[in-house]
Amino acid sequence: MTDNPGTAAAFPYDRKIPIWERVANSKRALAFMFLLPTTLVLTCVVVYPFMFALLLSFQDKTAGVPGRYVGLANYIELLGNPEFLQIVYNTVFYTVVAVSLKFLIGLTAALVLNQKRRFNNIYRTILFVPWAVPTVIASLTWLWVYDEFNGLLNVLFVKLGLVEYGVAWLAEPELAMWAIIAVVVWNGTPFYTMHFLAGLQAIPKEHYEAAEIDGANTLHKFWFITVPSMGSVFAITIMLSTVFTSTSIVVVNILTNGAPANLTQILPNFSFNLAIATGRMGLGSAVNMVLFPFLVVFIVILSGRMLRKGGD
C-alpha cells in the first residue's frame, strides 16, 4: 500500500470509504464498540444502584416506605457516635494487616509454586482450595475451628498441652481481631497466589539468565528482576483486594458480629446492620460513603502508573 497522492483515480485511496469502514477504523469508535457490552452491563447493574445508594445516604428511609431528604443529618449522627471512630480504626487496621499478610503469604506461595517440583499441579490445586470455598462456608467452618469447647484449634492446643482448657479465640479482646484476620487471609490468599504465579510466568527466563551471567544471586535476581517486572501485577492485586477486603461483611458477621465490645466491628458490617437489620437504609448508606474518599484516592494512586502506560 503506497502513499502516493499524485497518481490517478484508479488507486484504492480515491474511493469513498464507506461509513462502517470509517467507523471500524477510527480508534474512538472502535473503543466505543469494544467497551459497549461492558458499559451496558455496568450501567444497569452498578451505576444505577450506585446512584441509588449515594442518594440514600442523604435520606431518612425504611424499606417499603418512600424516603425523605435530610441533607447531612446522617453524617452528623455518625460523627456524634462514640463507637464510630473505633469502628473506623478497626476497619483500617484490619484492612492493612489482612492485605499485607495476604500479599506476603501469596507472594511466598507463588514463588514456591514457581519452582520446579514434581506434583506441582497438585500442590497448586491444594493451595487454591480456600478460594474455591464460599466465604460464608469458610466462616462457618472457622467458627467451628475456633470453638471454645470442640474446636480443632483448642483440641490441638489441649492435646499438645499448650493450654489447660479451651481458649475463646473470638471473644478475648486481644485475640478476636487476629482471629478474624486469620480467616480473611485464609480465604483470600489464593487470589494473590494465582495472580502472582501468572505474573511470574510472564517474566522471560532470558532476563534471569542474563543476570546470572553478570553474577547475581537469588536475592539479587528477586529484587532487581522479579519485583520490578511484577510492578503492575502487584499494584492491581493490592488495589482490588483492598477494595474487596474493606467492603466484605461475611466474616465478621458470622464469627463475632462485632464482639467483644465492638473491637471487631468494621464499617461494612456496621452499615449492613443499620441498613438492613435495623432498617435504617439512609444511615447505613452514609456509613458506606465514609470510606469512599480514601478508597478513591487509594485507587487513583495505585492505578496511576499502570494507566499511564496504556494507550497509544
Binding site: R28, T38, V41, L42, P49, F50, F52
Partner: protein, 281 residues
C-alpha cells in the same frame, strides 16, 4: 564462602519445600475439619469427646443432601450460571481491556478507574436497587438475570486483570501485524490473547469461582428453586438457632469440587512458556 549455583538452587528449593508443607497444612486444616464433620453422625458432632476422625463414619449426611434437599438441582444451576458468566466475562473483559490499554480516547483513565469504583459499594447494600432493575427488565428468577448481575461483578475486575497483562505486551508486535493488514480485532485475537493465556486462565478461574460462590444476589434475585444456586442452599441448614452441621459440611465438600476440578485441569494454561520469545530477533 559462597554457595555454588547448584548449591544455592538446592537451598532455595529446600526452603521452598518447607514453606510449601507449612502452607499446605495451614490450608488444609479447616478442610479436614469440614470433611471430618461431614462424615459424623449428629451425636458425634456434638459429642463430649471430640474425635479427630469419626468413630462411626457415615455417609448419611451426603445421602440427606442428595435425597432430601434440592442440592442436585442447585448444583446444575450453579454450573450453568458459572459457565455462562465466565464465558461472557472473558469476552467483555478482553474487549474492554484492549480498548483501555491500547486505544486512546477521551475519558480513558476515568472509565478505567470507574470500573474499580464500582466495587466500593458492597453487594450487601446494592442488592435492593439491583433487584429493582432486574425486576424491571423482567429477569427475576432467570439464569439471564443472575448472569447479568454477576457480570457487573466480574467484568470490572477481569478487565483490570487483563489490562495489567496487555500493557506488558510490546506494542511493536501489534504494529507489525497491523502493517501486514491485520485489523484491531485480529490483533487482539491472534496476537495479544495467545500471549496472555495465563492471564485469561486467571480471569476464567476467578469469574467461575466468584459466580460459584456468590450468595447475596443469588438469594435475592432468584427464589425459584429451579434456578437457585448452591450457596443459597446453605441457610436451609440453619433453622432458627439450630445448625445442621453434618449436611451443611457435606454440601460444602461437594460444592468445592467443581472449581477444584476446573482449576486442576486448566492450570497448565497458567504456566505457558510461549510468552515473549516472539520479540527477540
Amino acid at each position: 564462602m559462597a554457595l555454588t549455583k547448584a548449591g544455592s538452587q538446592r537451598l532455595s528449593r529446600a526452603i521452598g519445600s518447607v514453606i510449601l508443607v507449612v502452607l499446605i497444612v495451614w490450608t488444609l486444616a479447616p478442610i479436614y475439619w469440614m470433611i471430618n464433620t461431614s462424615l459424623k453422625v449428629p451425636g458425634e458432632i456434638y459429642g463430649q469427646n471430640i474425635t479427630m476422625w469419626p468413630r462411626q463414619p457415615t455417609l448419611e449426611n451426603y445421602w440427606i443432601l442428595f435425597q432430601q434437599t434440592n442440592f442436585p438441582l442447585y448444583l446444575r444451576n450453579s454450573l450453568i450460571v458459572a459457565c455462562a458468566t465466565t464465558a461472557l466475562s472473558l469476552v467483555f473483559a478482553s474487549l474492554g481491556a484492549y480498548a483501555l490499554s491500547r486505544l486512546q480516547f477521551p475519558g480513558r483513565k476515568l472509565f478505567a478507574r470507574t470500573l474499580v469504583y464500582t466495587y466500593l459499594m458492597p453487594e450487601s447494600l446494592l442488592f435492593i436497587p439491583l433487584l429493582i432493575i432486574v425486576v424491571t427488565l423482567g429477569l427475576q428468577n432467570t439464569y439471564q438475570g443472575l448472569v447479568f448481575a454477576y457480570l457487573g461483578f466480574t467484568v470490572p475486575f477481569c478487565t483490570w486483570l487483563l489490562m495489567g497483562y496487555f500493557v506488558s505486551i510490546p506494542v511493536e508486535l501489534e504494529e507489525a501485524a497491523m502493517t501486514d493488514g491485520c485489523s484491531r480485532l485480529g490483533v487482539l485475537f491472534y496476537i495479544v490473547l495467545p500471549l496472555t493465556v495465563p492471564a485469561l486462565a486467571v480471569v476464567a478461574f476467578f469469574s467461575f469461582t466468584l459466580s460459584w460462590n456468590e450468595y447475596v444476589y443469588a438469594a435475592v434475585l432468584v427464589s425459584d428453586v429451579n434456578v437457585r444456586t448452591i450457596p443459597t442452599g446453605i441457610p436451609n441448614f440453619i433453622v432458627e438457632d439450630v445448625f445442621f452441621w453434618g449436611p451443611m459440611m457435606a454440601s460444602t465438600v461437594i460444592s468445592a469440587i467443581p472449581p477444584l476440578v476446573v482449576y486442576f485441569f486448566f492450570q497448565r494454561y497458567l504456566i505457558t512458556g510461549l510468552t515473549l520469545g516472539a520479540v527477540k530477533g
